[in-house]
Protein backbone atom coordinates (compact mmCIF):
# COMPACT_ATOMS: atom_id res chain seq x y z
CA UNK A 1 0.00 0.00 0.00
CA UNK A 2 1.19 3.51 -0.81
CA UNK A 3 0.63 6.11 1.90
CA UNK A 4 0.46 9.63 0.48
CA UNK A 5 0.89 12.52 2.92
CA UNK A 6 -1.24 15.24 1.31
CA UNK A 7 -0.37 18.92 1.76
CA UNK A 8 -3.43 21.17 1.85
CA UNK A 9 -4.39 24.73 2.75
CA UNK A 10 -7.24 23.79 5.10
CA UNK A 11 -9.77 23.87 2.28
CA UNK A 12 -8.26 22.13 -0.73
CA UNK A 13 -5.46 19.74 -1.61
CA UNK A 14 -2.34 21.48 -2.82
CA UNK A 15 -1.14 20.70 -6.32
CA UNK A 16 1.74 18.73 -4.76
CA UNK A 17 -0.79 16.34 -3.22
CA UNK A 18 -2.58 15.81 -6.53
CA UNK A 19 0.77 15.13 -8.15
CA UNK A 20 1.79 12.60 -5.51
CA UNK A 21 -1.57 10.86 -5.78
CA UNK A 22 -0.94 10.84 -9.54
CA UNK A 23 2.49 9.29 -9.01
CA UNK A 24 0.95 6.68 -6.70
CA UNK A 25 -1.72 5.86 -9.30
CA UNK A 26 1.00 5.42 -11.93
CA UNK A 27 2.90 3.03 -9.66
CA UNK A 28 -0.29 1.02 -9.16
CA UNK A 29 -1.82 -0.73 -6.18
CA UNK A 30 -3.76 0.47 -3.20
CA UNK A 31 -3.50 4.14 -2.17
CA UNK A 32 -4.12 5.61 1.25
CA UNK A 33 -4.29 9.39 1.44
CA UNK A 34 -3.27 10.95 4.74
CA UNK A 35 -4.67 14.39 5.54
CA UNK A 36 -3.43 15.99 8.74
CA UNK A 37 -4.25 19.18 10.58
CA UNK A 38 -6.95 21.83 10.61
CA UNK A 39 -9.46 21.42 7.80
CA UNK A 40 -8.71 17.72 7.27
CA UNK A 41 -12.34 16.65 7.30
CA UNK A 42 -13.16 19.21 4.64
CA UNK A 43 -10.23 18.18 2.45
CA UNK A 44 -10.96 14.47 2.96
CA UNK A 45 -13.86 14.50 0.51
CA UNK A 46 -11.55 15.75 -2.22
CA UNK A 47 -8.83 13.21 -1.37
CA UNK A 48 -11.40 10.39 -1.42
CA UNK A 49 -11.71 10.81 -5.21
CA UNK A 50 -8.15 9.63 -5.69
CA UNK A 51 -7.50 7.04 -2.96
CA UNK A 52 -9.02 3.80 -1.75
CA UNK A 53 -8.99 5.14 1.78
CA UNK A 54 -8.39 8.47 3.46
CA UNK A 55 -7.01 8.85 6.96
CA UNK A 56 -7.66 12.18 8.67
CA UNK A 57 -6.62 13.70 12.00
CA UNK A 58 -7.37 17.20 13.21
CA UNK A 59 -5.20 16.89 16.31
CA UNK A 60 -4.60 20.34 17.84
CA UNK A 61 -0.94 19.45 18.40
CA UNK A 62 -0.35 19.58 14.63
CA UNK A 63 -0.86 23.38 14.75
CA UNK A 64 0.98 25.59 14.38
CA UNK A 65 2.67 23.41 11.81
CA UNK A 66 5.16 21.13 13.58
CA UNK A 67 7.39 18.96 11.40
CA UNK A 68 8.23 16.79 14.38
CA UNK A 69 4.59 15.99 15.12
CA UNK A 70 3.67 15.53 11.47
CA UNK A 71 6.55 13.09 11.13
CA UNK A 72 5.45 11.11 14.14
CA UNK A 73 1.89 10.94 12.83
CA UNK A 74 2.99 9.80 9.39
CA UNK A 75 5.42 7.21 10.74
CA UNK A 76 2.91 5.77 13.23
CA UNK A 77 0.15 5.55 10.62
CA UNK A 78 2.53 4.04 8.03
CA UNK A 79 3.19 1.20 10.47
CA UNK A 80 -0.45 0.77 11.49
CA UNK A 81 -1.69 0.82 7.89
CA UNK A 82 1.18 -1.43 6.73
CA UNK A 83 2.44 0.88 4.02
CA UNK A 84 5.26 -0.24 1.76
CA UNK A 85 5.85 3.23 0.36
CA UNK A 86 5.37 6.64 1.98
CA UNK A 87 5.21 9.68 -0.30
CA UNK A 88 5.61 13.25 0.93
CA UNK A 89 5.93 16.50 -0.98
CA UNK A 90 9.30 17.83 -2.04
CA UNK A 91 8.35 21.24 -0.64
CA UNK A 92 10.64 22.62 2.05
CA UNK A 93 8.25 21.40 4.72
CA UNK A 94 8.03 17.98 3.05
CA UNK A 95 11.79 17.64 2.83
CA UNK A 96 12.04 18.23 6.56
CA UNK A 97 9.29 15.77 7.40
CA UNK A 98 10.32 12.90 5.12
CA UNK A 99 13.80 12.21 6.57
CA UNK A 100 12.31 12.34 10.07
CA UNK A 101 9.78 9.70 9.04
CA UNK A 102 12.55 7.57 7.52
CA UNK A 103 14.63 7.80 10.71
CA UNK A 104 11.65 6.82 12.84
CA UNK A 105 10.97 3.81 10.61
CA UNK A 106 14.66 3.01 9.97
CA UNK A 107 13.71 2.98 6.29
CA UNK A 108 15.68 4.16 3.26
CA UNK A 109 14.88 7.70 2.15
CA UNK A 110 14.84 8.77 -1.49
CA UNK A 111 14.79 12.54 -1.75
CA UNK A 112 13.17 14.89 -4.25
CA UNK A 113 12.34 12.22 -6.80
CA UNK A 114 11.46 13.33 -10.32
CA UNK A 115 10.60 9.82 -11.59
CA UNK A 116 9.56 6.73 -9.65
CA UNK A 117 9.65 3.12 -10.79
CA UNK A 118 8.91 -0.07 -8.87
CA UNK A 119 11.62 -2.71 -9.04
CA UNK A 120 11.78 -6.16 -7.52
CA UNK A 121 11.55 -5.62 -3.76
CA UNK A 122 12.03 -1.88 -3.89
CA UNK A 123 11.98 1.40 -5.75
CA UNK A 124 14.17 3.19 -8.26
CA UNK A 125 13.99 6.97 -8.62
CA UNK A 126 15.67 9.75 -10.51
CA UNK A 127 16.69 12.96 -8.82
CA UNK A 128 18.93 15.94 -9.48
CA UNK A 129 22.33 16.36 -7.87
CA UNK A 130 25.36 18.68 -8.08
CA UNK A 131 23.17 21.79 -8.01
CA UNK A 132 20.83 20.14 -10.50
CA UNK A 133 23.56 19.68 -13.10
CA UNK A 134 23.55 15.87 -12.78
CA UNK A 135 20.64 13.43 -12.95
CA UNK A 136 21.11 10.51 -10.56
CA UNK A 137 19.34 7.18 -10.51
CA UNK A 138 18.99 5.81 -6.98
CA UNK A 139 17.71 2.47 -5.79
CA UNK A 140 16.51 1.11 -2.47
CA UNK A 141 15.42 -2.42 -1.69
CA UNK A 142 13.35 -2.58 1.49
CA UNK A 143 9.87 -3.51 2.74
CA UNK A 144 9.20 0.16 3.49
CA UNK A 145 10.66 3.15 1.64
CA UNK A 146 10.13 6.88 2.21
CA UNK A 147 10.16 9.20 -0.80
CA UNK A 148 9.75 12.94 -1.25
CA UNK A 149 8.51 13.92 -4.69
CA UNK A 150 9.76 17.01 -6.48
CA UNK A 151 6.93 19.47 -7.15
CA UNK A 152 5.82 19.96 -10.76
CA UNK A 153 7.26 16.68 -12.01
CA UNK A 154 4.23 14.36 -11.90
CA UNK A 155 0.95 14.26 -13.79
CA UNK A 156 -1.92 15.06 -11.42
CA UNK A 157 -4.19 12.23 -10.27
CA UNK A 158 -7.32 11.16 -12.14
CA UNK A 159 -10.50 11.00 -10.04
CA UNK A 160 -12.04 7.55 -9.73
CA UNK A 161 -15.77 6.76 -9.83
CA UNK A 162 -15.54 5.04 -6.45
CA UNK A 163 -14.96 7.29 -3.48
CA UNK A 164 -12.45 6.06 -0.92
CA UNK A 165 -13.64 5.48 2.61
CA UNK A 166 -12.67 8.16 5.16
CA UNK A 167 -11.37 7.17 8.60
CA UNK A 168 -10.71 9.50 11.47
CA UNK A 169 -7.58 8.44 13.32
CA UNK A 170 -6.28 9.22 16.79
CA UNK A 171 -2.71 10.38 17.27
CA UNK A 172 -0.55 10.25 20.36
CA UNK A 173 1.35 13.49 20.08
CA UNK A 174 3.05 15.64 22.68
CA UNK A 175 3.24 19.45 22.55
CA UNK A 176 5.94 20.75 20.22
CA UNK A 177 8.93 22.15 22.15
CA UNK A 178 9.32 24.84 19.50
CA UNK A 179 7.35 28.06 19.92
CA UNK A 180 6.53 29.94 16.75
CA UNK A 181 6.57 33.57 17.92
CA UNK A 182 6.42 35.36 14.59
CA UNK A 183 5.46 34.65 11.04
CA UNK A 184 5.66 36.70 7.87
CA UNK A 185 3.72 35.27 5.03
CA UNK A 186 4.99 36.40 1.68
CA UNK A 187 2.13 35.75 -0.66
CA UNK A 188 1.95 37.33 -4.04
CA UNK A 189 -1.40 38.01 -5.59
CA UNK A 190 -0.13 36.52 -8.85
CA UNK A 191 0.06 32.98 -10.13
CA UNK A 192 1.91 30.77 -7.63
CA UNK A 193 5.51 30.59 -8.78
CA UNK A 194 6.00 26.84 -8.56
CA UNK A 195 2.71 26.16 -10.31
CA UNK A 196 2.97 28.76 -13.08
CA UNK A 197 3.42 27.55 -16.63
CA UNK A 198 5.21 30.83 -17.45
CA UNK A 199 7.62 32.63 -15.13
CA UNK A 200 9.14 36.11 -15.56
CA UNK A 201 12.17 36.71 -13.32
CA UNK A 202 14.02 39.96 -12.76
CA UNK A 203 17.60 40.18 -11.51
CA UNK A 204 20.02 42.80 -10.32
CA UNK A 205 19.97 44.24 -13.83
CA UNK A 206 16.52 45.71 -13.06
CA UNK A 207 18.44 48.33 -11.09
CA UNK A 208 15.70 49.32 -8.64
CA UNK A 209 12.58 47.96 -6.95
CA UNK A 210 10.44 50.42 -8.92
CA UNK A 211 11.74 49.01 -12.18
CA UNK A 212 10.20 45.63 -11.31
CA UNK A 213 6.97 47.18 -12.58
CA UNK A 214 8.31 46.11 -16.01
CA UNK A 215 8.52 42.51 -14.77
CA UNK A 216 5.05 42.64 -13.18
CA UNK A 217 3.43 44.23 -16.23
CA UNK A 218 4.96 41.68 -18.60
CA UNK A 219 3.94 38.84 -16.26
CA UNK A 220 0.39 40.19 -16.07
CA UNK A 221 0.02 40.34 -19.85
CA UNK A 222 1.20 36.74 -20.13
CA UNK A 223 -0.55 35.42 -17.00
CA UNK A 224 2.86 34.46 -15.63
CA UNK A 225 4.32 34.13 -12.13
CA UNK A 226 6.96 36.62 -10.97
CA UNK A 227 10.39 35.47 -9.82
CA UNK A 228 13.54 37.16 -8.58
CA UNK A 229 17.20 36.33 -8.17
CA UNK A 230 18.90 36.25 -4.82
CA UNK A 231 20.62 39.52 -5.69
CA UNK A 232 17.23 41.23 -6.10
CA UNK A 233 15.90 39.65 -2.90
CA UNK A 234 19.00 40.49 -0.85
CA UNK A 235 18.78 44.08 -2.05
CA UNK A 236 15.29 44.17 -0.53
CA UNK A 237 13.65 44.76 -3.91
CA UNK A 238 11.52 41.61 -3.84
CA UNK A 239 10.14 39.20 -1.23
CA UNK A 240 12.04 36.01 -0.52
CA UNK A 241 8.97 34.00 -1.61
CA UNK A 242 9.81 34.99 -5.19
CA UNK A 243 13.42 33.80 -5.09
CA UNK A 244 14.35 31.16 -7.63
CA UNK A 245 17.44 29.01 -7.13
CA UNK A 246 19.37 26.77 -4.81
CA UNK A 247 18.14 28.52 -1.68
CA UNK A 248 14.83 29.59 -3.17
CA UNK A 249 12.23 27.85 -5.26
CA UNK A 250 12.72 25.37 -8.07
CA UNK A 251 10.60 26.00 -11.14
CA UNK A 252 10.20 24.09 -14.37
CA UNK A 253 7.76 26.15 -16.44
CA UNK A 254 6.99 25.90 -20.16
CA UNK A 255 8.88 29.15 -20.58
CA UNK A 256 11.17 31.01 -18.18
CA UNK A 257 12.03 34.65 -18.84
CA UNK A 258 15.30 35.77 -17.23
CA UNK A 259 15.48 39.57 -17.36
CA UNK A 260 18.71 41.22 -16.21
CA UNK A 261 19.84 37.90 -14.77
CA UNK A 262 23.42 36.67 -15.23
CA UNK A 263 22.69 32.96 -14.71
CA UNK A 264 24.82 32.04 -11.69
CA UNK A 265 25.07 28.30 -10.95
CA UNK A 266 22.95 28.73 -7.82
CA UNK A 267 20.24 30.49 -9.80
CA UNK A 268 20.30 27.97 -12.64
CA UNK A 269 19.90 25.09 -10.20
CA UNK A 270 16.39 26.44 -9.65
CA UNK A 271 15.34 27.08 -13.26
CA UNK A 272 17.73 25.18 -15.55
CA UNK A 273 15.14 22.47 -16.27
CA UNK A 274 12.64 24.95 -17.72
CA UNK A 275 11.29 23.73 -21.03
CA UNK A 276 12.18 26.99 -22.74
CA UNK A 277 14.50 29.75 -21.52
CA UNK A 278 14.27 33.33 -22.78
CA UNK A 279 16.83 35.93 -21.72
CA UNK A 280 17.07 39.69 -22.00
CA UNK A 281 20.55 40.92 -21.17
CA UNK A 282 22.84 43.69 -22.32
CA UNK A 283 25.85 41.40 -22.26
CA UNK A 284 26.06 38.52 -24.77
CA UNK A 285 28.73 36.70 -22.75
CA UNK A 286 26.71 35.96 -19.62
CA UNK A 287 26.22 32.29 -18.57
CA UNK A 288 22.45 32.64 -19.04
CA UNK A 289 23.06 33.04 -22.78
CA UNK A 290 24.53 29.53 -23.02
CA UNK A 291 21.23 28.01 -21.90
CA UNK A 292 18.90 30.43 -23.67
CA UNK A 293 16.52 29.27 -26.40
CA UNK A 294 15.75 32.87 -27.31
CA UNK A 295 17.57 35.97 -26.20
CA UNK A 296 17.52 39.66 -26.88
CA UNK A 297 20.85 41.40 -26.42
CA UNK A 298 20.00 44.90 -25.34
CA UNK A 299 19.10 47.30 -22.55
CA UNK A 300 16.13 45.91 -20.66
CA UNK A 301 14.88 49.45 -20.04
CA UNK A 302 14.19 49.74 -23.75
CA UNK A 303 13.41 46.09 -24.49
CA UNK A 304 10.88 45.41 -21.71
CA UNK A 305 8.41 48.20 -22.57
CA UNK A 306 8.60 47.01 -26.18
CA UNK A 307 7.99 43.40 -25.13
CA UNK A 308 5.01 44.43 -23.01
CA UNK A 309 3.55 46.36 -25.94
CA UNK A 310 4.15 43.52 -28.41
CA UNK A 311 2.65 40.93 -26.04
CA UNK A 312 -0.41 43.14 -25.46
CA UNK A 313 -0.87 43.48 -29.20
CA UNK A 314 -0.74 39.70 -29.60
CA UNK A 315 -3.26 39.13 -26.81
CA UNK A 316 -5.76 41.67 -28.22
Amino acid sequence: MILVHCEHDGTRLRKSALEMLGAAQALGGEITALVLGRGSSQVAAEAAKYASQVLIAEDALLEPYSARNHAQAIADLAVQAEASLVLTSGSRAGREVAPRVAVRLDAPYLEDATQLELIDGGLRVKHYAYLARVTETLEAIAPLIVVSVKPNTQAVAQPSANLGEVFEVELELTPSPIQVVGRTQEKTSRVALTEASLVVTGGRGMGSPENFKLIEDFADVLGAGVGATRAAVDAGWRPYAEQVGQTGKTVQPNAYFAIGVSGAVQHMSGMGKSKLIVAVNKNADEPIMKVADYAIIGDLNAVMPALIAAAKKLKD
Binding site: D112, K187, I296, L307
Partner: protein, 250 residues
Protein backbone atom coordinates in the same frame (compact mmCIF):
# COMPACT_ATOMS: atom_id res chain seq x y z
CA UNK B 1 29.22 25.62 25.25
CA UNK B 2 30.16 22.77 22.93
CA UNK B 3 29.41 23.06 19.23
CA UNK B 4 29.71 20.42 16.53
CA UNK B 5 29.85 21.36 12.84
CA UNK B 6 29.11 18.74 10.22
CA UNK B 7 31.18 19.50 7.21
CA UNK B 8 31.74 18.08 3.74
CA UNK B 9 33.98 18.58 0.76
CA UNK B 10 32.26 19.17 -2.59
CA UNK B 11 33.15 20.40 -6.07
CA UNK B 12 33.55 24.16 -6.19
CA UNK B 13 30.21 25.68 -7.27
CA UNK B 14 31.89 27.20 -10.33
CA UNK B 15 33.67 23.97 -11.31
CA UNK B 16 32.43 22.13 -14.38
CA UNK B 17 30.92 18.78 -13.52
CA UNK B 18 31.71 15.85 -15.84
CA UNK B 19 30.55 12.28 -15.90
CA UNK B 20 32.25 9.17 -17.24
CA UNK B 21 30.82 5.64 -17.38
CA UNK B 22 27.72 6.59 -15.44
CA UNK B 23 29.45 8.31 -12.52
CA UNK B 24 30.50 11.83 -11.75
CA UNK B 25 34.19 12.19 -12.46
CA UNK B 26 35.82 14.58 -10.00
CA UNK B 27 39.31 14.11 -11.45
CA UNK B 28 40.74 17.56 -12.02
CA UNK B 29 37.74 19.39 -10.49
CA UNK B 30 38.60 21.95 -7.86
CA UNK B 31 37.10 20.90 -4.54
CA UNK B 32 36.11 23.03 -1.58
CA UNK B 33 34.44 23.09 1.80
CA UNK B 34 30.68 23.12 1.07
CA UNK B 35 29.62 26.79 1.19
CA UNK B 36 26.58 25.91 3.28
CA UNK B 37 28.84 24.26 5.88
CA UNK B 38 31.04 27.35 5.99
CA UNK B 39 28.13 29.33 7.44
CA UNK B 40 27.89 26.77 10.26
CA UNK B 41 31.61 26.97 10.99
CA UNK B 42 31.48 30.77 11.05
CA UNK B 43 28.48 30.76 13.36
CA UNK B 44 30.19 28.29 15.71
CA UNK B 45 33.23 30.56 15.87
CA UNK B 46 31.04 33.56 16.67
CA UNK B 47 29.12 31.69 19.37
CA UNK B 48 32.18 30.21 21.07
CA UNK B 49 35.15 31.94 22.62
CA UNK B 50 37.86 31.78 20.00
CA UNK B 51 36.68 28.38 18.84
CA UNK B 52 36.90 26.75 22.30
CA UNK B 53 34.69 23.67 22.53
CA UNK B 54 34.13 23.42 18.78
CA UNK B 55 34.63 20.31 16.69
CA UNK B 56 34.28 19.60 12.97
CA UNK B 57 32.86 16.21 12.07
CA UNK B 58 33.17 14.82 8.55
CA UNK B 59 32.07 11.50 7.09
CA UNK B 60 33.65 10.81 3.72
CA UNK B 61 36.70 9.82 1.73
CA UNK B 62 40.32 10.73 2.40
CA UNK B 63 40.09 13.83 0.20
CA UNK B 64 37.72 15.42 2.76
CA UNK B 65 40.86 16.19 4.77
CA UNK B 66 41.41 19.42 2.80
CA UNK B 67 38.00 20.72 3.80
CA UNK B 68 38.56 19.63 7.40
CA UNK B 69 41.88 21.49 7.46
CA UNK B 70 40.11 24.58 6.20
CA UNK B 71 37.64 24.54 9.12
CA UNK B 72 40.57 24.22 11.55
CA UNK B 73 42.29 27.10 9.80
CA UNK B 74 39.10 29.15 10.13
CA UNK B 75 39.34 28.50 13.87
CA UNK B 76 37.53 25.33 14.96
CA UNK B 77 39.37 23.62 17.84
CA UNK B 78 39.61 20.05 16.58
CA UNK B 79 38.14 17.62 14.07
CA UNK B 80 36.92 14.06 13.71
CA UNK B 81 37.10 12.36 10.32
CA UNK B 82 35.20 9.13 9.79
CA UNK B 83 37.06 8.06 6.72
CA UNK B 84 35.12 5.95 4.22
CA UNK B 85 34.66 5.56 0.49
CA UNK B 86 31.18 4.15 1.00
CA UNK B 87 28.44 6.64 0.07
CA UNK B 88 26.14 6.38 3.07
CA UNK B 89 22.43 7.15 2.90
CA UNK B 90 21.10 9.85 5.20
CA UNK B 91 19.35 7.53 7.67
CA UNK B 92 22.46 5.41 8.21
CA UNK B 93 24.56 8.58 8.49
CA UNK B 94 22.20 9.92 11.13
CA UNK B 95 22.75 6.74 13.18
CA UNK B 96 26.51 7.22 12.92
CA UNK B 97 26.35 10.93 13.79
CA UNK B 98 24.03 10.24 16.69
CA UNK B 99 26.68 7.94 18.16
CA UNK B 100 29.32 10.65 17.71
CA UNK B 101 27.05 13.31 19.23
CA UNK B 102 26.45 11.09 22.25
CA UNK B 103 30.23 10.80 22.69
CA UNK B 104 30.89 14.50 22.12
CA UNK B 105 27.82 15.86 23.97
CA UNK B 106 27.54 19.14 22.01
CA UNK B 107 24.88 21.69 22.90
CA UNK B 108 24.48 22.72 19.29
CA UNK B 109 25.08 21.03 15.94
CA UNK B 110 25.35 22.96 12.67
CA UNK B 111 24.48 21.23 9.41
CA UNK B 112 24.57 22.77 5.92
CA UNK B 113 21.08 23.54 4.62
CA UNK B 114 21.67 21.72 1.34
CA UNK B 115 24.62 19.65 0.16
CA UNK B 116 26.15 21.01 -3.04
CA UNK B 117 26.80 17.48 -4.37
CA UNK B 118 23.84 15.29 -3.40
CA UNK B 119 21.49 18.32 -3.35
CA UNK B 120 20.13 16.78 -0.15
CA UNK B 121 18.42 18.88 2.51
CA UNK B 122 17.80 15.91 4.75
CA UNK B 123 20.80 15.59 7.07
CA UNK B 124 19.81 18.14 9.72
CA UNK B 125 16.26 16.81 10.00
CA UNK B 126 17.41 13.19 10.11
CA UNK B 127 19.99 13.89 12.81
CA UNK B 128 17.62 15.92 14.98
CA UNK B 129 15.04 13.15 14.75
CA UNK B 130 17.63 10.49 15.60
CA UNK B 131 18.72 12.49 18.66
CA UNK B 132 15.23 13.66 19.60
CA UNK B 133 16.56 17.22 19.62
CA UNK B 134 14.98 20.45 18.45
CA UNK B 135 15.65 21.60 14.92
CA UNK B 136 15.68 24.87 13.01
CA UNK B 137 16.13 24.61 9.25
CA UNK B 138 17.18 27.30 6.74
CA UNK B 139 18.32 29.61 9.51
CA UNK B 140 19.13 33.23 8.71
CA UNK B 141 19.41 34.63 12.27
CA UNK B 142 20.40 32.89 15.46
CA UNK B 143 20.75 34.29 18.98
CA UNK B 144 21.47 32.49 22.21
CA UNK B 145 20.72 33.52 25.78
CA UNK B 146 21.74 30.84 28.23
CA UNK B 147 19.98 27.71 27.01
CA UNK B 148 17.39 29.67 25.09
CA UNK B 149 17.63 29.98 21.31
CA UNK B 150 15.78 32.48 19.14
CA UNK B 151 16.01 31.91 15.41
CA UNK B 152 14.61 33.35 12.22
CA UNK B 153 14.29 30.86 9.40
CA UNK B 154 12.74 30.50 5.97
CA UNK B 155 9.67 28.34 5.39
CA UNK B 156 7.85 27.55 2.14
CA UNK B 157 6.02 30.84 1.83
CA UNK B 158 7.72 33.21 4.20
CA UNK B 159 9.73 33.49 7.38
CA UNK B 160 9.18 32.36 10.93
CA UNK B 161 10.70 33.40 14.24
CA UNK B 162 10.96 30.46 16.62
CA UNK B 163 12.08 29.96 20.21
CA UNK B 164 13.47 26.74 21.57
CA UNK B 165 15.92 25.29 24.04
CA UNK B 166 19.32 23.69 23.61
CA UNK B 167 20.44 21.14 22.66
CA UNK B 168 19.43 21.61 19.06
CA UNK B 169 20.36 21.10 15.42
CA UNK B 170 20.52 24.15 13.16
CA UNK B 171 20.70 24.03 9.38
CA UNK B 172 22.32 26.98 7.70
CA UNK B 173 21.90 29.05 4.63
CA UNK B 174 23.21 32.10 2.88
CA UNK B 175 22.45 35.22 4.90
CA UNK B 176 23.28 33.71 8.31
CA UNK B 177 26.68 35.40 8.31
CA UNK B 178 29.72 36.21 6.19
CA UNK B 179 32.26 33.42 6.65
CA UNK B 180 35.81 34.57 7.37
CA UNK B 181 38.90 33.69 5.41
CA UNK B 182 41.59 31.81 7.33
CA UNK B 183 44.48 34.10 8.25
CA UNK B 184 48.07 32.97 7.77
CA UNK B 185 48.82 32.66 11.51
CA UNK B 186 45.64 30.59 11.93
CA UNK B 187 46.59 28.36 9.01
CA UNK B 188 49.96 27.75 10.68
CA UNK B 189 48.31 27.04 14.05
CA UNK B 190 45.78 24.69 12.50
CA UNK B 191 48.48 22.28 11.39
CA UNK B 192 49.01 21.33 15.02
CA UNK B 193 45.33 20.88 15.81
CA UNK B 194 43.88 17.46 16.58
CA UNK B 195 42.38 15.54 13.65
CA UNK B 196 41.01 12.26 14.96
CA UNK B 197 40.56 9.51 12.36
CA UNK B 198 37.84 6.91 12.83
CA UNK B 199 36.26 4.28 10.63
CA UNK B 200 32.71 3.04 10.06
CA UNK B 201 33.82 -0.17 11.75
CA UNK B 202 34.24 1.72 15.01
CA UNK B 203 30.50 2.34 14.89
CA UNK B 204 29.39 -1.04 13.57
CA UNK B 205 28.28 0.35 10.21
CA UNK B 206 29.10 -1.55 7.03
CA UNK B 207 26.41 -0.87 4.45
CA UNK B 208 24.17 1.76 2.94
CA UNK B 209 20.42 1.54 2.30
CA UNK B 210 20.46 3.56 -0.93
CA UNK B 211 22.51 2.65 -3.97
CA UNK B 212 23.57 5.16 -6.61
CA UNK B 213 22.89 3.29 -9.85
CA UNK B 214 23.82 5.93 -12.36
CA UNK B 215 24.82 9.56 -12.74
CA UNK B 216 24.54 11.43 -15.99
CA UNK B 217 24.38 14.93 -17.34
CA UNK B 218 21.10 15.49 -19.11
CA UNK B 219 21.34 18.71 -20.97
CA UNK B 220 18.45 20.00 -22.95
CA UNK B 221 19.56 21.18 -26.36
CA UNK B 222 18.84 24.89 -26.46
CA UNK B 223 17.81 26.79 -29.59
CA UNK B 224 20.30 29.64 -29.06
CA UNK B 225 18.31 32.04 -31.19
CA UNK B 226 19.95 35.37 -30.36
CA UNK B 227 18.28 38.62 -31.40
CA UNK B 228 20.07 41.96 -31.54
CA UNK B 229 18.13 44.43 -29.40
CA UNK B 230 19.49 47.69 -30.81
CA UNK B 231 16.09 48.32 -32.34
CA UNK B 232 14.12 47.35 -29.23
CA UNK B 233 10.67 47.51 -30.82
CA UNK B 234 11.65 45.29 -33.77
CA UNK B 235 13.46 42.80 -31.52
CA UNK B 236 10.51 42.59 -29.15
CA UNK B 237 8.07 42.13 -32.02
CA UNK B 238 10.23 39.34 -33.46
CA UNK B 239 10.57 37.54 -30.12
CA UNK B 240 6.85 37.65 -29.34
CA UNK B 241 6.04 36.24 -32.80
CA UNK B 242 8.61 33.45 -32.34
CA UNK B 243 7.22 32.57 -28.91
CA UNK B 244 3.72 32.45 -30.37
CA UNK B 245 4.26 30.68 -33.67
CA UNK B 246 7.48 28.67 -33.26
CA UNK B 247 7.74 27.82 -29.54
CA UNK B 248 3.96 28.06 -29.02
CA UNK B 249 4.31 29.02 -25.37
CA UNK B 250 2.20 32.21 -25.51
Amino acid sequence: MKIMCLIRQVPDAEARVKTANGTVDLQGSSMALDGMDEYGVEQALRMSEGGAGTVAVAVGPQRFEDAIRRTLAMGLERAIHIETDLVLDVVTTSRLLKAIALEEQPDLIFVGGQHADTDSQAMGAALSEALGWNLVTWTTELTLEGQHVTAVHDVDDGKETVELELPCVVTTQQGLNEPRYPTLPNIMKSKKKELLKKSLNDYGISSTMVRVVNQEIQQRARLQHIIDGKDAAAAAEQLIVLLHTEAKVI
